[in-house]
C-alpha cells in the first residue's frame, strides 16, 4: 500500500490528482466514465458573481501538441452554481474546489462573501458542498478582469487580500504564467495568507488566419494549453516551489502519470490535469492508478520521499 495523500492547509487529498478548472465542468459529465471519488479533487468551472455567456465566435484552435481556447468564462454565476451544482457536490467524496473569477474588485469580494456565508450555513446542518476556494486571477480570455489582476504583483495583492479577509475557507491562488514577476507574485500570495498556490493557467497566445487576414479569435488572443506548454510550466512550478513554503498545485500539459511525477519532484504538493481530460475522458482515473503503479515499481512508500527532490 502506497501513501499518496497530500495536504493544503487543513484540506487532505487522498491523492495528488486534481481536475483543473474549466476542463471538467462540475464533474457530472465525467461521472459517466469513472468514479469521481477516486480523484484527489475537482476544481469546478470558473465562477463569476453574475452568470456569463462567455466569448462569441470561434473558441478553440488546435496547435502542435496543444490547443488554444477562448471560452471567456462562460458560467452559471455563483448563485447558479449554489442552486444547481451543490447537491451533486455534496455527495462527492473528493476535495471540491470552487474556482472564483471576477470582473472588478468588488465582484471578487462579494463572491467570496457569498461562498463563505453559504459554507457556514450549510456546515450547520449538513455536509459542506465545497472544501476550498481557488482564486482565479489568471484567466487570459476575459477583458474586464481575470488576468488583468494576474500580471502585476501589487494589483493582485489587493484581490488576494480582499478575498482572504472575506472568507475563512482554505484559499489557493491560481497564477498566470503571463505574470510580470511570477515568483514575486507567489511570495505575495504567501504574505497575504493564502494556503496554497496553483499554476500555471494558460499562456496568452495567438492564431492568425492568413486568408482572412485576422485573428481566428474575436478576442484576439487566446489561452494555450496541452503538452506543448509542459516543459515551461514545469520550470515555473519548480521556481515557485523554491520560493514559497506554502503548498503548490502544479499544472500545465500533464498527460501521464510520469508527467505528474515530474511536477511532484519539482516540488508540487498536488498536480492538476486539464486539457488531457479531452484526450482521454478517463484521464483522472488513469493518472491516479498510474501514480500508484509508479510508486510500487520504484519502491516509493510516500510521495513525500520524492517531493521537491530536484
Amino acid at each position: 500500500m502506497v501513501d499518496t495523500t497530500c495536504r493544503i492547509g487543513s484540506v487532505l487529498f487522498k491523492n495528488p490528482v486534481v481536475m483543473a478548472s474549466g476542463t471538467f465542468g462540475f464533474g457530472r459529465e465525467y461521472a459517466k466514465f469513472y468514479d469521481l471519488n477516486k480523484l484527489g479533487g475537482i476544481s469546478g468551472k470558473g465562477l463569476t458573481l453574475k452568470a456569463k455567456e462567455g466569448n462569441e465566435g470561434l473558441r478553440v484552435w488546435e496547435t502542435a501538441a496543444g490547443m488554444l481556447n477562448s471560452v471567456g468564462l462562460e458560467n452559471p454565476g455563483i448563485m447558479g452554481f449554489l442552486e444547481e451544482e451543490t447537491p451533486f457536490w455534496q455527495q462527492l467524496d473528493t476535495v471540491r474546489i470552487v474556482n472564483l473569477g471576477g470582473g472588478c474588485l468588488s465582484d471578487y469580494e462579494e463572491g467570496a462573501e457569498i461562498l463563505e456565508n453559504f459554507s457556514v450555513r450549510s456546515l450547520a446542518d449538513e455536509r459542506p458542498a465545497y472544501d476550498m476556494i481557488e482564486l482565479n486571477i489568471s484567466c487570459p480570455n476575459v477583458k474586464e478582469g481575470g488576468m488583468a489582476y494576474g500580471i502585476r504583483t501589487e494589483t493582485a495583492r489587493e484581490v488576494v487580500r480582499l478575498v482572504r479577509e472575506a472568507t475563512s475557507l482554505p484559499l489557493v491562488v491560481k497564477l498566470s504564467p503571463n505574470a510580470e514577476d511570477l515568483t514575486g507574485m507567489a511570495a505575495m500570495c504567501e504574505e497575504e495568507g493564502a494556503d496554497g498556490i496553483s499554476l500555471v493557467n494558460t499562456f496568452s497566445a495567438m492564431k492568425i488566419d492568413i486568408h482572412k487576414r485576422r485573428s481566428v479569435f474575436q478576442n484576439l488572443y487566446a489561452g494555450l494549453s496541452g503538452p506543448a506548454i509542459k516543459p515551461i510550466a514545469l520550470r515555473m512550478v519548480h521556481q515557485v516551489c523554491k520560493t514559497v513554503s506554502i503548498p503548490v498545485m502544479g499544472m500545465g500539459g500533464i498527460s501521464s502519470a510520469e508527467d505528474a511525477i515530474e511536477f511532484i519532484m519539482a516540488g508540487a504538493e498536488t498536480v492538476q490535469v486539464g486539457t488531457h481530460n479531452f484526450v482521454s475522458l478517463r484521464a483522472g482515473e488513469e493518472l491516479v492508478e498510474g501514480i500508484s503503479a509508479f510508486m510500487r515499481q520504484e519502491g516509493i512508500k510516500s510521495l513525500q520521499e520524492i517531493r521537491g527532490i530536484i
Binding site: 474549466g22 476542463t23 471538467f24 465542468g25 459529465e29 465525467y30 459517466k32 468551472k45 455567456e53 462567455g54 462569441e56 465566435g57 470561434l58 473558441r59 478553440v60 484552435w61 488546435e62 496547435t63 502542435a64 501538441a65 496543444g66 490547443m67 481556447n69 471560452v71 462562460e74 496541452g226 503538452p227 498527460s255 486539457t275 481530460n277 479531452f278 484526450v279 482521454s280 475522458l281 478517463r282
Partner: protein
C-alpha cells in the same frame, strides 16, 4: 479510451471516405462519436457523425479537411482506432411527412436517419462531384440531387411536417431564412458541425448562441430547431 478494430476504410470520392469499425456501442440517427488515432498531435479527437449501423458494425462518412481527418484516411483494415460515444441528442422524434436535406459531407447523418424513415424524401446538394446518391436511392424513391447550387432552394417547406438539415453554414443559414419567411417553428432542425474538444459537455468550446441562451453543440445538440440558432455567435 475504448478502441475498436477498423474493418474497412475506403475512398468514395475526392477527399471523401467511409470507415467501418467493429463496435456494439450503437447510437441514434444524428448522434456522433469522438474518434482518434494519434497521441498528442493533433491533440483532440474528431467528432464524426454516425453514417450507418449494421449489427456490430459502425460506419462513418468523413471528408479530409485537416490533419486529423487526413490521419484517419490513412488507417487500414486491421488498424485500431480510439472511439468514444455515441454522444449528442440526435434528430428529434419523427412526426408526419419528413424531408432530409444534406449539403456535401453534411449528408453523413442523413443516411442512418433515412433507414429509420423509409418514407422520407431526400435532398442532396454537392458543390462538385456527387457521392453515395445510389445508396440513398436504394432506400428512397424520392431523392433530389443538386450540384453547384443551394439544395435548400428546391424544398417546399409547406409540403413537410419536418425537415432535417445538415450541411455547410451558408446552407443552414439559407434554410433559416426560408423558415423565417414561412413563419414556421419546430419544423426545421439543423445538425451543427462546431469544433469540439471534450465532446461531452464539459469544456464549452463548442458552445453555440441560441435564442434560449448559450447551448452546448455536443451535449444539448448537435441538432437544434433552426429558428433557435444564432449563426456566427
Amino acid at each position: 479510451m475504448a478502441d475498436a478494430v477498423i474493418l474497412d476504410n475506403v475512398q468514395l470520392s475526392s477527399g471523401i471516405f467511409r470507415m467501418t469499425v467493429r463496435s456494439e456501442s450503437g447510437g441514434l440517427p444524428g448522434q456522433f462519436y469522438m474518434l482518434r488515432a494519434w497521441s498528442t498531435s493533433p491533440l483532440l479527437s474528431r467528432p464524426i457523425s454516425i453514417f450507418d449501423i449494421e449489427g456490430d458494425q459502425l460506419h462513418f462518412l468523413y471528408q479530409t479537411a485537416g490533419e486529423g481527418t487526413r490521419l484517419l484516411s490513412q488507417l487500414r483494415a486491421g488498424d485500431r482506432i480510439g472511439l468514444e460515444g455515441p454522444f449528442g441528442n440526435g434528430f428529434p422524434a419523427a412526426s408526419g411527412k419528413i424531408a432530409l436535406a444534406g449539403g456535401g459531407i453534411g449528408i453523413a447523418p442523413l443516411y442512418y436517419a433515412l433507414k429509420h424513415l423509409p418514407q422520407a424524401e431526400v435532398y442532396l446538394g454537392f458543390s462538385r462531384e456527387p457521392y453515395l446518391v445510389a445508396e440513398f436511392e436504394r432506400l428512397s424513391s424520392r431523392v433530389t440531387v443538386d450540384i453547384g447550387g443551394y439544395i435548400t432552394d428546391q424544398i417546399d417547406l409547406t409540403a413537410y411536417d419536418q425537415v432535417w438539415v445538415c450541411g455547410p453554414e451558408p446552407m443552414m443559414k439559407a434554410m433559416q431564412r426560408k423558415n423565417e419567411a414561412a413563419g414556421a417553428a419546430g419544423k426545421v432542425f439543423v445538425s451543427l458541425e462546431n469544433r469540439m474538444a471534450c465532446g461531452i459537455g464539459a469544456c464549452l468550446v463548442c458552445s453555440t448562441k441560441t435564442s434560449g441562451g448559450r447551448r452546448k453543440a455536443c451535449a444539448d445538440g448537435p441538432v437544434f430547431p433552426v429558428e433557435e440558432v444564432v449563426f456566427g455567435g
